[in-house]
């Protein structure tokens, strides 16, 4: 009985290992041809992660940057956000940055100087993608 139980346990273990090859890193019937295969996933230069900017205590009296992606929904979304922000914080200011290109990294674009000046001039940024 103990022996039968042991066989069952081994069988269950082998079954589980076969179901999750990512954990096993090696699998399959040893009687079949075995393939030692190279990873297709590429290395990328590690980018040291940066923390995000400290949050504001309140939005009252602050200048909030509104960054619009080029997609058509982004500006009306930000207009709606702006309307509500000003209703909640009447002395809150806003400043729009309108990105005209598709998926442009503005800090690396021809608009770099204008973008950096805009970012430095606001206390926080809300970005609407439009998707």
């Amino acid at each position: 009985m103990r022996k039968i139980f042991g066989v069952l346990v081994t069988g269950v273990f082998v079954f589980i290992a076969g179901q999750d090859p990512s954990k096993a890193q090696s699998s399959g019937n040893a009687s079949e041809p075995q393939f030692k295969v190279l990873s297709p996933w590429a290395e990328a230069d590690p980018i040291p992660p940066r923390g995000i900017s400290p949050r504001l205590n309140t939005l009252a009296g602050r200048k909030i940057g509104l960054f619009a992606n080029f997609k058509r929904a982004s500006r009306p979304i930000l207009a709606s956000v702006e309307k509500r922000l000003k209703a909640m914080y009447p002395d809150c200011e806003t400043s729009l940055f309108d990105s005209r290109g598709a998926n442009v990294v503005e800090s690396e674009s021809a608009n770099r100087e204008r973008f950096i000046a805009w970012a430095k001039g606001v206390d926080a940024v809300i970005l609407a993608v439009g998707d």
């Binding site: 076969g18 090859p21 990512s22 890193q25 090696s26 699998s27 399959g28 019937n29 079949e32 041809p33 075995q34 393939f35 030692k36 295969v37 190279l38 990873s39 297709p40 996933w41 590429a42 290395e43 990328a44 230069d45 590690p46 980018i47 040291p48 992660p49 940066r50 923390g51 995000i52 400290p54 949050r55 504001l56 205590n57 309140t58 939005l59 909030i64 080029f70 997609k71 058509r72 929904a73 500006r75 009306p76 979304i77 709606s80 956000v81 509500r84 909640m88 309108d98 005209r100 290109g101 598709a102 998926n103 926080a124 940024v125 809300i126 970005l127 609407a128 993608v129 439009g130 998707d131």
Partner: protein, 414 residues
Amino acid sequence: MLLANKGFVTDARSAASSRGMPGIRVLGTSIPCETNEKSEIDAGVAAAMENIVAALTKPLTVGEKSPKQQLEPLPRIAFTGSYEAVNRFFYSKGWTDGLPISPPTEKAVAEMMTGTDLRAEHVVAKVIPRLGKATVEKIAINAVMAGALPTHMPVLITAVQALMDQRSRFDTFGVSTGSWAPFFVINGPIRNDIHINCSSGALSPGDMANAAIGRAVSLIAKNIGGARKGIEDMGVLGNPGKYSLVLGEYEEESPWEPLQVERGFKKEDSTLTLFLPNTYIQTIPRDTNAKGYVETYASLNPGSMSCLLVVPSHAKVLSSEGWTKKKIKEFILENSASPFPAVQGGQGTPLPPTKPSVDDLMIVVAGGPGAWIGLLRSAGGWENSFVTKKIDLPRNWDKLVAKYKNVVPTYTAY
């Protein structure tokens, strides 16, 4: 903080993380994608407003303040197992296109790399969005998986260079909602050397070079570039062309100068020309003469980057009546409406309508006997252009071609 439709939250987080800002606060909304319906926008913003304020005011967590570098282990050997187990493992890792792959063993990859003189560790390009290093070895691994031959390596290396040429705007189109697919036209002697089909069913399955080169590019975009479906590649409907869109120009049957000569290369140069369409249309001409052909071409409304596929029989009729590629392009542009006349690209910030130029249209002679017309069109025209690159061949090219020359299907009559 970033506002996106809830379906784009994972994409936004991946984009932020790949730029070294994993902590950026992303808020998913119920606002429909790309809408300009004010009531839907207002409702979505109203529902999100409390969380928007919180995202700007709630103190940072330790992880947001000082995120830790998460270096993923990158073992060179990914797995050992049977053919079936290898395939299950690769599929479970998200490394395939859903079809079985050929196991990239050391031996198979070494053989694949005989197709280039470049060293295994040579970085051909860094591929977006992850900026993964497309070393010769990684290209070869994905090429083996796709079922390519070593003679396809020069094309694949050139394809990676072309994709990462900023003019192609693969950075946008490769992962965009519009499901653009890389389309490659191969010209010059290499076309025959490696049996790129340019005749009957050139865009259909069945030819190893046409199929495997496109498939390998798709795997490279996924495994080197890190563009995974629904995570970074946000194509809404998808595109079967992402499996493969490769054909040759049927230069021998064309009355006109071949594409690579048009684009500044020599006739004896082997070249690859790339652009990213997301539509493929086929139709028959209105009439069986040159006028019928060109009027039909114009009715298809090319523009915003298109490639017209002209079958050899039509090309000969057109040429005999004095139509050159340039004259056909001018007629098309003069007589067709831009498919997106009011808003550039159909979704972006409204801009003055731009009339496509002859530089936005490419004509390629391809196809077998028959009378059809093909058009590959890109619904978008954001500072992108066709990219043509010369394909550099290894020193042992002739020997390599001889070795694989007979790898062709031989069909049994029935």
